[in-house]
């Protein structure tokens, strides 16, 4: 079976800084994977490479067997770590936009989620609070029936109630045949939804293992094991 997400000897340099070095990853369909690492470990760089927002210095990255391009972007649903939706748009205009460009966008699902949020769909993003903007952005991303969801710090900088809403939205809406890659350093919050984890540090993947294996092998939760491994 072709891996949904694969890196082969992937490296990325920014001038003299080595952001990623010799990364080898393979993720089969149907897995929820945590990309875990401290700040500046290379998580966002890896996700940007998968989205074609950066080009590799060496090696290759494959999405469903293809290098990042318009074809892979049609099957990848990406949530960046910052608001990226045009602020002048309202929820209806955003849905029109997503529907126009993504064949896999499920408008009905998006409308249901927005209704549950109790949001005025005619309200502009610029008039919404930071938390609401993040929720709307997440709703758009999770309303796609994508093969790969790349979620960069989806719960960073939000209150615990919003964290629960975000994780619940992710778990309720992703396609079971898809891969969900969640980048975060807030492990205790996401641990309950993960099948697998990737530890990344200083640009290198130091561990790829299932959550159950970690618990069995080390007798501790992923959060505890992470703290052990990355102890300062």
């Amino acid at each position: 079976m072709t891996a949904t997400f694969e890196c082969r000897g992937l490296s990325k340099r920014f001038g003299a800084t080595q952001a990623l070095e010799g990364v080898n990853i393979s993720i089969a369909p149907g897995r929820v994977v945590g990309l875990l690492g401290p700040n500046g470990s290379g998580k966002t760089t890896l996700i940007k490479l998968a989205n074609g927002l950066l080009s590799p210095s060496e090696g290759e990255i494959l999405i469903c067997g293809s290098r990042p391009g318009p074809e892979t972007k049609a099957v990848v649903s990406y949530l960046p770590d910052k608001p990226c939706m045009p602020q002048w748009m309202n929820a209806v205009q955003l849905m029109d936009f997503f529907q126009d460009f993504y064949a896999d966008f499920d408008r009905q699902r998006a409308e249901e989620m927005l209704a549950r949020l109790g949001l005025d769909q005619k309200q502009k993003l610029s008039q919404m609070s930071k938390g609401t903007k993040e929720k709307v952005q997440l709703i758009m991303v999770m309303s796609r029936k994508a093969k790969l969801y790349l979620l960069d710090e989806p719960i960073g900088g939000v209150d615990p109630a919003t964290r629960d809403y975000i994780l619940d939205t992710i778990i309720r809406n992703y396609d079971p045949e898809a891969v969900v890659l969640i980048s975060t350093h807030l492990i205790s919050d996401v641990e309950k939804v993960l099948d697998e984890v990737l530890f990344i540090n200083q640009g290198k993947v130091t561990l790829q293992a299932s959550v159950d294996d970690i618990r069995q092998q080390y007798g501790m939760s992923v959060d505890e094991y992470f703290r052990e491994v990355f102890k300062c």
Partner: protein, 278 residues
Amino acid sequence: MLGKLIKHELRGSGRTMLPFILVSLFLSVMAGLSMRAMEHQQEYSWFNILFGIVIFLFVAGLMAVCIMSVVVVINRFRQNLLGDEGYLMFTLPVSVDQHIWAKLIVSAIWFLATALTCMLAVVLVLLCNVRTFDVNWSEVGYVMGELGRMIREFGVLHIVGYCLELLVMFFAGVCVSCLLFYCAMAIGYSFANRKVLLSILACFGLDIFFTTLQSALIAALNAMPGVERFLDNLDLSRVGTAGSVHIVMLCWILYLAVYAAVLYIPTRLLLKKKLNLP
């Protein structure tokens, strides 16, 4: 996908441009009507001040449309592709080429709309004052007749050809101007810091570079043996006046197309390989 990009780009830029266009057309009607009212004004009064203000607003409105068309073209590229919105735009299932073409086509539409707005504004002022200006309709008829005679003389096909060539030339000219800004911004925004300053410097740098390059090329062509003889022996009488105009226009289009291509290649390469979103 290019059509969808154009649709959304028009929507994004139209919300800024359309109010300016509508306001300036409204001001042109107001200016026309106040000019007409001034005709009956015998002595200096508060109305003269009002008239002055309306005329000032009319001119300022037209200038604002012209300035805004340039500002919108630059700002949409910066904000939509090189700012935070770039995370959304560059993860759409479209190519970098489609992004650039969408921006160029919409820019051309707005520049054309700006030119038409200016013309329409003048026409509106004139229409409001047809009686004031005492239009001699027989003279208008004579001019139209002369125009018709010229068209017949040149041939309708030639005139249609000129119009098409002018349109292509306009689009190629817009592409060159926009790509100069786009290329400069793509260079400036590929750096980690001082992106705006570096974009401005890159813009000046590119302009100086291409002006120098053109001068050097012209000088080199002049120095080449045989060029002068070739130009002297060039016999355009075989193609006639109408054909000569076509040749000149096509040469100019070719020059603009090459210029645009030279700017397009680094812009595309930088957006594809050196994209550095914030």
